[in-house]
């Protein structure tokens, strides 16, 4: 059993020696019945983050460590993927297998891992430019295909790495170096985008509420499918105070998703996503009935392998060659 199918922390046993659905992966057998300790923060922390002091991304990183610690995950079970942007530096700060890929394409890269390695949980971190501008197409299709992974977008409403240009989530009127007179293009609503694209887990949180961030990360990880979190993460350098209205410490309000909201109701979720800023926080939408692409592909593999049961790979190929004589 892999973490894909065993969300409960007590089930987080070591990976089995042969990985279901992954032919021929060699690994050593862990001692039988050994319940391993999860990683500690000390073990999982790598480089000191290069983010500016006060950046919201610190909080997301700290909570990712907490998630790994709390859920007693080990190095063999996770991989962390990112594209390009301030927040996409994330994998360097995590002492575990991870990849820093190119701008906007973290999702297809992560899909490659997810679809060929069901024994791993793939976490993807990135920013709003990576997710909704250059990577917009991939966001739509990864959600639609429901490829198993957790995607946390640290949304700061601005391009930070390139120093203050308009982002796809910058609100109208935001003055940036590329919109000196204020942004003129309507921003994307990430929640609406995710729901419309067919994501099966859609949640919203903010870096100023650490407990809530952790709660959302846990729920997202436990979801069998494409789980998406929009996490507001303030850029203190280029968009200070952007999210004050959602932060009670700055005189704002943190409003959770209403208790009576039905997370399986797509229409209600879409409506909720339309609430004006600061909007709501929590799980907007969750659909556990839609099969993942991972499961569908595994099913295809299973039915095809049944037809060639007992044959070695070269013998399967030989059958094709015999037909071409």
């Amino acid at each position: 059993m892999s973490i894909l199918t065993s969300p409960s922390p007590t089930n987080l046993n070591p990976i089995p020696p042969t990985v279901a659905g992954v032919p021929g992966i060699t690994t050593t057998t862990p001692p039988a019945g050994a319940e391993r300790k999860g990683l500690t923060k000390k073990e999982i922390a790598a480089d000191h983050p290069t983010w500016c002091p006060g950046c919201g991304d610190f909080s997301v990183l700290a909570l990712y460590f907490k998630l790994i610690e709390k859920r007693r995950m080990v190095h063999e079970q996770i991989t962390t993927v990112a594209g390009i942007g301030c927040s996409s530096r994330f994998p360097y700060f995590v002492q575990a297998h991870g990849v820093h890929f190119i701008h906007g394409r973290a999702l297809p890269f992560a899909s490659g891992i997810s679809l060929s390695r069901p024994d791993l949980h793939v976490f993807v971190f990135g920013g709003d430019g990576d997710a909704f501008s250059i990577g917009g197409n991939h966001f739509t299709h990864t959600a639609r295909k429901n490829i198993k992974m957790t995607y946390c977008v640290m949304d700061n409403w601005v391009y930070g790495l390139t120093k203050k240009q308009t982002s796809p989530t910058s609100p109208l009127g935001f003055k940036s170096k590329t919109d000196q007179w204020g942004a003129v293009d309507h921003p994307i609503n990430p929640m609406k985008q995710a729901i419309a694209a067919g994501a099966t887990f859609v949640a919203r949180t903010t870096h100023t509420n650490p407990n809530h961030v952790l709660q959302m990360m846990e729920a997202a990880m436990d979801h069998d499918g494409f789980s998406f979190i929009e996490c507001l993460s303030e850029c203190v350098e280029f968009y200070e105070g952007a999210f004050d209205a959602s932060n009670p410490r700055k005189g704002g309000v943190f409003t959770e998703v209403p208790k009576d909201h039905d997370v399986t109701d797509e229409g209600a979720a879409y409506k909720l996503a339309g609430n004006p800023f600061p909007g709501n926080f929590g799980i907007f939408y969750k659909n556990s009935a839609k099969a993942t692409k991972n499961a569908k592909e595994a099913e295809i593999v299973k039915s095809h392998q049944a037809k060639v049961a007992g044959l070695k790979d070269w013998q399967i190929l030989q059958k094709n060659f015999d037909r071409m004589k």
Partner: protein, 610 residues
């Protein structure tokens, strides 16, 4: 048909059909794309394979959505077949336009077998070509019971060909049964009826039957397939189990085949939202532990180049197939061109070394795929397979590979390691090794493959020294690969007047051009390059043996007068004797074209003929 057949169309002396022995025949079938002419060609090719003959086909398909003129040319020989043939011995044409458009592809004195229901022969051509008219359409309808539809006329025509070329009937019958079997029994029955009707049709006015000389006995059974199939099956044999792609002609066949076949092996192939996602997903698959594949044609390769740069920088193995077509832009999607050499070798930002291999024929597609996977793994590098529409769609017969021996397992090994530094600069070979995620590293220090310039663990660096060292590391491993490449040999003597250098799919026509030139005493040899980047060592030694080096390529001569490989060779060897023979008509080389251009160029250079 070869020399022994020159008497084939001479006026018959008697009334009885004669049997004439031939070495080879080139048959061009012209019709519309929905007439099933590819099926006839396919049957003939497969039959040749089963008869231990050599075969090569050539086809054109319109890039329209449905219909349009289409041809299929098949060259069958008892000896070596190196190209699809310049001129046809027989033209089988179904329509007036097929007749008029293709009569010029026929040898003088060749046979026109036409559907008399649709073709009106022209008197001026009847003098130069032997015309044989058969009411193919109506006789087909009659044979299968008068439904008024001529579906099956291709099979009827094949019956005629079987008669004319005295083909092996039990073998053809078996092929028809295999092809149409499994469906409704009446379909097989109808097909056989059409075939037999064609076969038993009286061809009194032809008066001759041709019979192929017995081919040399081959050690191994032959398999018959096209280049795209050979490449895809090669990838499977190499152990590739994951890939991603986006449909584009002529690459699409490969992804369709992998999608269909990989699940049997526990793998899968994913159709992505775009070309960029395809290479990104394949790179994710490679990172996950097993070399993955992506591919495309023309414009799709352009879209992949940013991620290719990442693969160079992160030193991530991946195989990228480029089935070249006429470009730039949408260009000529169903035509052949060798104009992606530059993008394959140099396409990308920054110094981004990669390996480029160009298979030289259908059989070579199979073995090149395996080699590409192994080079990608051994050198931890992206490898581009530069094939083209010509090889992709042509059918050849080749000795069946020993699959039990060849098939390899490249599953990742997740056994824990004490420590791991992927970009280790102290390693003597300088080659990066990646560990698949899921591997425990006992010292607790984990690597990050990255597109940023990095230190030995993959963490970002701005160090001028490290950028120089890492750039050198990425380049040096390919220099090392150049020493691993098998030494090149010329086709023909290693000294002479002219060396014809080609790459990839032009190998066959160049060899045939060399054979013909040498046959009349010209000191011409050939050299075929399969390893395009890095180039094999020792080329300059080979060049020394010749007065002229002509690089024959299916691409434009460019602003400075040299094709894409010629420009690379000139830059590499600073040898002014390297000159270019190019064309960009979207068609494969004819042997005659190569010879004419060679003689003209040599003549202009001051009488290079020996």
């Amino acid at each position: 048909m070869s020399d022994t057949t020159t008497a084939a169309v001479a006026a018959p002396s008697g009334g009885a059909a004669k049997i004439l022995k031939i070495n080879e025949a080139v048959i061009r079938i012209a019709g519309n794309s929905q007439d099933g002419i590819q099926a006839i060609g396919g049957f003939l090719a497969r039959l040749a394979g089963r008869s231990e003959q050599e075969v090569m086909t050539f086809m054109t398909i319109p890039s329209t959505i449905s219909g349009g003129p289409s041809i299929f040319q098949v060259r069958i020989g008892s000896g070596e077949v190196l190209s699809a043939g310049d001129e046809a011995d027989m033209l089988l044409c179904f329509y007036q336009h097929s007749y008029e458009d293709h009569i010029k592809s026929l040898k003088l004195g060749g046979i026109v077998l036409y559907d008399a229901d649709h073709v009106q022969p022209k008197p001026e051509w009847e003098e130069n070509y032997r015309h044989v008219g058969v009411n193919i359409s109506s006789l087909t309808v009659e044979a299968i019971g008068g439904t008024g539809r001529d579906k099956g006329k291709n099979i009827y025509a094949m019956g005629l060909l079987a008669k004319i070329f005295d083909l092996n009937i039990p073998k053809i019958t078996k092929l028809i049964e295999e092809r149409f079997g499994g469906k409704d029994q009446s379909i097989v029955a109808n097909a056989l009826t059409c075939f037999n009707a064609g076969y038993s049709h009286s061809l009194e006015n032809l008066l001759k039957t041709y019979q192929f000389f017995e081919p040399e006995k081959k050690d191994r059974t032959q398999v018959v397939m096209n280049g795209n199939e050979a490449l895809a099956y090669g990838l499977i044999a190499a152990g590739v189990r994951f890939g991603a792609g986006y449909p584009i002609t002529p690459w699409t066949d490969i992804m369709e085949l992998l999608r269909r076949e990989l699940p049997k092996y526990g793998g899968t192939f994913i159709q992505t939202e775009d070309e960029i996602a395809a290479i990104s997903m394949a790179l994710g698959g490679s990172y996950a532990g097993r070399v993955a594949v992506t591919g495309s044609s023309g414009p799709g390769i352009s879209l992949k180049t940013e991620a290719l740069g990442w693969a160079s920088m992160a030193e991530m193995p991946i195989v990228i197939v480029d089935v070249q077509r006429g470009g730039p832009s949408t260009g000529m999607p169903t035509n052949v061109e060798q104009s992606d050499l530059n993008i394959a070798c140099f396409g990308g930002h920054g110094d981004s070394p990669r390996v480029v291999l160009a298979p030289t024929g259908v059989e070579d597609c199979f073995y090149t795929a395996i080699e590409a996977v192994n080079i990608a793994r051994k050198y931890s590098t992206p490898v581009i397979i530069l094939t083209d529409q010509g090889i992709a769609t042509r059918i050849e017969a080749f000795p069946e590979p020993n699959l039990e021996k060849i098939c390899q397992d490249i599953s990742p090994d997740l056994t824990p390691v004490p420590e791991h530094k992927p970009y280790d600069l102290s390693k003597p070979d300088g080659i990066t090794r990646h560990l698949a995620p899921g591997t425990k590293i006992l010292n607790g220090i984990y690597p990050i493959p990255t597109g940023l310039e990095h230190d030995e663990y993959g963490h970002p660096t701005g160090s001028p020294k490290l950028h120089s060292q890492m750039t050198a590391k990425r380049r040096n491993k390919l220099r090392q690969l150049a020493w691993d490449i098998p030494k090149l040999k010329t086709y023909g003597p290693n000294e002479g007047q002219i060396l014809l250098v080609g790459w990839g799919s032009s190998q066959g026509p160049i060899k045939e051009a060399v054979d013909r030139a040498r046959g009349i005493g010209e000191a011409v040899s050939g050299l075929s390059l399969k390893y395009i980047n890095p180039l094999p060592n020792g080329l300059e030694q080979i060049f020394k043996g010749f007065n002229h080096i002509f690089v024959v390529e299916l691409n434009d001569e460019g602003i400075y007068g040299y094709g894409q490989l010629a420009a690379v060779l000139r830059a590499r060897y600073c040898d002014p004797r390297i000159r270019a023979i190019n064309k960009s008509d979207g068609l494969t080389w004819k042997v005659k074209e190569i010879l004419d251009r060679t003689r003209t160029l040599a003549g202009n250079l001051g009488g290079a003929q020996s």
